[in-house]
Amino acid sequence: MENLIALLVGVPLLGAAVLLCGGRRLDRTGHWLGTLLAAVSFFIGLALFADMLGKSADDRAMHQRLFTWIPVEGFQADIAFQLDQLSMTFVLLISGVGTLIHVYSIGYMEHDERRRRFFGYLNLFVAAMLLLVLADNYLLLYFGWEGVGLASYLLIGFWQHKPSAATAAKKAFLVNRVGDMGLSIAIMIMFTTFGTFAFGPVLASTGEASQGTLTAIGLMLLLAACGKSAQVPLQSWLGDAMEGPTPVSALIHAATMVTAGVYLIVRSADIFNAAPDAQLVVTVVGAVTLLFGAIVGCAKDDIKKALAGSTMSQIGYMILAAGLGPIGYVFAIMHLVTHGFFKAGLFLGAGSVMHGMNDEVDMRKYGGLRKYMPVTFVTFGLGYLAIIGFPGLSGFFSKDKIIEAAFAKGGTEGWILGSVTLLGAAITAYYMTRVMLMTFFGEKRWQNDENGEPPHPHESPRSMTIPMILLAVGSVAAGAYFEFAGFVEWLEPVTGYAHGHPPISAAAVTAATVAVMVIGVGLAYLQYGRRPVPVVAPRGSLLTRAARRDLLQDDFNHAVFVTGGTHVTRSLVYVDHTLVDGVVNGTAAAVGGLSGRLRKLQNGYARTYAVSMFGGTAVLIAATLLMRAV
């Protein structure tokens, strides 16, 4: 059974290779091949899952070692896989949601002449992401980590004839590279401290390393997580990443890749448990991003960017939970999975809306679509209810647990974190209601496209609606299923679990969660449901305007890094030309000048040459005599 693990990665990788190298003759069948291989990977995952369920809880981890990747004295990096409960959860999520999104893309990308390549990239992504979660050491994880970064780069920039898409892709890769720097430094520290970077030995010997070292490793891992999971201060790329085709936003920038940071932190639980300072920073980053993303989400009129803000905010919840230690790890992963369902569903719904509206993304130009797209409306609505935490749906269970755990952190920190998560829940309800109302309710505010054609909203083809329906089912049922089927017991052997005791009763927390949700929904209804939505956005308050510009983060980056960097490189080019090269050219010029002077001695008169000969001889003789005398 263990030998199947490599196939999980290998099958989609083969798909990517065939599709990308296969040339045009695969244009007509490529998308089916890609989808099939993703599905095969999913079914292998299911088979392994069934096998794993048959074993006792402590004996479930499987290992497969292929070969030594980098054999250098004292440095062993293996291509080796580890499949435990945590990885298993991810494998099913990635390959399952991945397959659904492959199916959806068949319809969504139907008219794109480069559809084959799109499926090749999607397969590449699935392979890299599976590699990331299956690796049994940090270096191989890094391989997958950069692999998903590459796939994300290629897919964001898929419509690269648009300069905005190409820029967004580059930005995503660059910001992620800053995070990757953190991961490579973390691996370097691990290697010098433990002499290895395989999960087993590193995590087993954390007890012997010094607190400072562990904190450093933790912070570097957090930096990596911030890059991949779009957390403050490396969050700026996610909004722009919405330039990619919508299935990409759903799969990579909502359901799977952006959650890799959470995986990394939960996977390194032993390191963080031993480094409370690093944990504190993790919770702070999570809390800040949670609010940051939510505020940005409230102000965006672009439906995908509003959802991107929401993604950022929800991952903030997960990171915060992961920072809480054993009381939070399980719930971070639980929220990650439920979020995978409902956010992927929401994005696919958004894609379906755009598909019917001439690729319009501005919600101010939607309105009243529920009659025209009933399936999209219902599935999107279920995803909406799940994300705001409507009791009984999946988001309710997972988010409530995180809020409870945040309070259970104890002390002032607990109260602050708990309040932040509650506030976040209220804002989530607000902005999601806003999206819902602006898109599906109210007046039609449709605009003609460039050719003067009015949009003809229509329901999407079945290849697109079926994935949406399946994801909606997941959004509704996953939370309750996890709650009652024992998700905590499932993950406990890997992540550890401690039951948190909040200072107020769990029931009170739940009641508060529901209450703030109702407040958020109510506020949004008053603002967007009762009154007509203006087609042109009002100027808005200072905060609104800042939030529309991603709270000025991009302006800051531009001013400091882009403008500053440009000045630095320009001046260095100048320095290289004038100073470094100048010194050498100056020497050459000096030699040239000197020889010009000396040339004048060559006046052609034999006599002058004779004088210089005599002079030279005289000097030589004098020197010889002088040396003798000395």
């Binding site: 692999g147 030995p201 290289d576």
Partner: protein, 526 residues
């Protein structure tokens, strides 16, 4: 005396060069095929050397030794260690692709049919360089190495000065002036380095009484040859200076962008991927092997220079407007990594540096040759003249991207392995240097992706609308290189197997041990 395999590996391209040069003027195509066949034969010989070399055996293998200049104890002494084997393999691998990529670079111009540039000479010079480079990787006699080190400047000078890139802005005269400036600059820089090295070579002879690398190193190791501290340091600096010019290390780097910018793309690859490797190779073999104490003494300064090279080269690459100069500055950054790895004096660092030499050669060749194909289509080296090529020539853009990704060390492609080893090796001894060098990976992403974005994406520019995609000959160049990059990225074992023992020898030369992990590994202890 056994079969002189090493001599043969160098003699075949040398003989091929003479034969190619002798092909009559009208039979240009025959000369090209001859050169290609000779380079392939050399590749076969290099493969034989690779296979015959036993990683676990003697340090120098397949040795040959003949007296050359008796009076000064100069010998024709050859032998290869793992590092030499790897680099010979690299050289022999790249030359066929360089020849194939430069197939039409020296064809007669239509406008000036009488004064066409001799095709035969171009390919003969390339083969001559190959012969000298291979022999210099084999030489274990310091004087022999010196002669080759200097002699390879001559064919390189003519390759740069005589066969410039036909894509240039401005008039022909202006381009010719720039080309000759670049060629002279290349020659002068390297000659100055070589002269200082000559002084050091003579100094070494005065001190040691012979030129044999193996004998001197042995005498140094067993204490029969003492050197005064200052003497050793001066000799070390003399050698190091020459190698640092060749490598090139900041601030001795400015000849490289000129030379690579003005030369044709295949010759630019020849410079940076093959000839420059002699410099870093010699640092490992001669600087560390002959002057271990002085090497340790100079390490802090060299590490600082290497770090400056890494960051400075990358920043300048970001600021370039010319595609080929951009690649040149990227190479300067990468040479910084190689030198950093060598002087970190850890097993990982030195193995990484050796792998880096090979991987950088292949990745730069892939990137630069594709860039050359692009430039030859449009007739311009300026980034601003391109845009949207991806739409017109997707295969060209795709291979260019893979070359770029290799340059920015994406895992899965060969350069990642070596770069990470260098970083880890550096970090374990000099943490701060390791962290500073890590910023290089962000900057590398910046210059590669900006280049790709500006040339390949966006709206299609009018001038590039008709560019054809890669042709069969060009695919035959690019595809094998990419295949090698992927293979060595996932399975570098064949290379590390030959390199590792050599690195162990070097580490024992300098009497350094790897820093041990602070927390002993639980599993390893059991």
């Amino acid at each position: 005396m056994s079969f002189p395999l090493l001599t043969l590996t160098a003699a075949v391209p040398a003989a091929g060069a003479i034969l190619t040069a002798a092909v009559p003027a009208a039979r240009r195509t025959a000369a090209k095929w001859l050169a290609l066949l000779v380079s392939l034969a050399t590749l076969v010989l290099a493969a034989v050397v690779f296979v015959r070399f036993e990683p676990g055996g003697e340090r120098y293998q397949l040795t040959e030794s003949h007296s050359w200049i008796k009076d000064f104890g100069v010998r024709y002494e050859l032998g290869v260690d793992g590092i030499g084997v790897a680099l010979i393999a690299l050289t022999a691998l790249l030359i066929p692709f360089i020849i194939l990529a430069g197939w039409h670079d020296a064809d007669p111009l239509e406008t000036s049919s009488k004064r066409w540039r001799p095709t035969q000479g171009f390919f003969a010079l390339i083969l001559m360089v190959e012969a000298m480079v291979i022999l210099s990787f084999e030489a274990t006699d310091v004087f022999l190495f010196y002669v080759l080190f200097e002699a390879m400047l001559i064919p390189m000078y003519f390759l740069i000065g005589g066969f410039g890139d036909r894509a240039h802005s401005g008039s022909d005269e202006n381009a010719a002036a720039q080309r000759s400036y670049a060629a002279v600059k290349f020659l002068l820089y390297n000659l100055v380095g070589g002269l200082i090295m000559l002084a050091a070579v003579i100094g070494l002879y005065v001190v040691a009484g012979n030129f044999s690398l193996t004998e001197i190193a042995e005498a140094r190791a067993n204490g029969s040859l003492e050197m005064a501290t200052n003497t050793e340091r001066l000799l070390f600096l003399g050698f190091f200076f020459a190698f640092a010019v060749k490598a090139p290390l900041w601030p001795l780097h400015t000849w490289l962008p000129n030379a690579m910018g003005e030369a044709t793309a295949p010759v630019a690859v020849l410079i940076t991927a093959v000839v420059d490797k002699v410099g870093t190779f010699a640092m490992l073999r001669f600087c560390l092997g002959l002057f271990p104490e002085a090497s340790k003494w100079a390490t802090p300064a060299i590490i600082v220079l290497a770090l400056i090279s890494i960051v400075y080269g990358a920043l300048l690459a970001v600021g370039q407007r010319d595609i080929k100069r951009l690649v040149a500055y990227a190479s300067i950054s990468h040479f910084g990594f190689i030198i950093l790895g060598i002087f970190a004096m850890t097993t990982q660092g030195q193995s990484g540096a050796t792998l880096y030499m090979v991987n950088h050669g292949i990745s730069t060749a892939a990137l630069m040759l594709v860039a050359g194909f692009l430039i030859s289509r449009r007739g311009s080296r300026l980034i601003a003249d391109y845009g949207g090529v991806q739409k017109v020539a997707p295969v060209l853009a795709g291979t260019f991207l893979i070359g770029g990704l290799a340059t920015l060390s994406l895992p899965g492609l060969a350069p990642f392995v070596s770069e990470f080893l260098v970083l880890v090796g550096t970090y374990s001894r000099y943490p701060v240097a390791g962290i500073i060098a890590t910023t290089g990976i962000v900057l590398a992403a910046l210059y590669v992706l900006v280049l790709y974005q500006r040339t390949m994406t966006g709206p299609v520019k009018e001038e590039v609308r008709t560019l054809p995609d890669l042709r069969a000959r060009e695919l035959a160049v690019v595809v094998p290189l990419i295949a090698v990059l992927i293979f060595l990225g996932v399975f570098p074992k064949p290379l590390t197997d030959v390199v590792n023992p050599a690195v162990q020898h070097t580490m024992s030369d300098v009497q350094q041990k790897d820093p041990q992990p602070t927390v002993p590994n639980v599993e390893a202890a059991q």
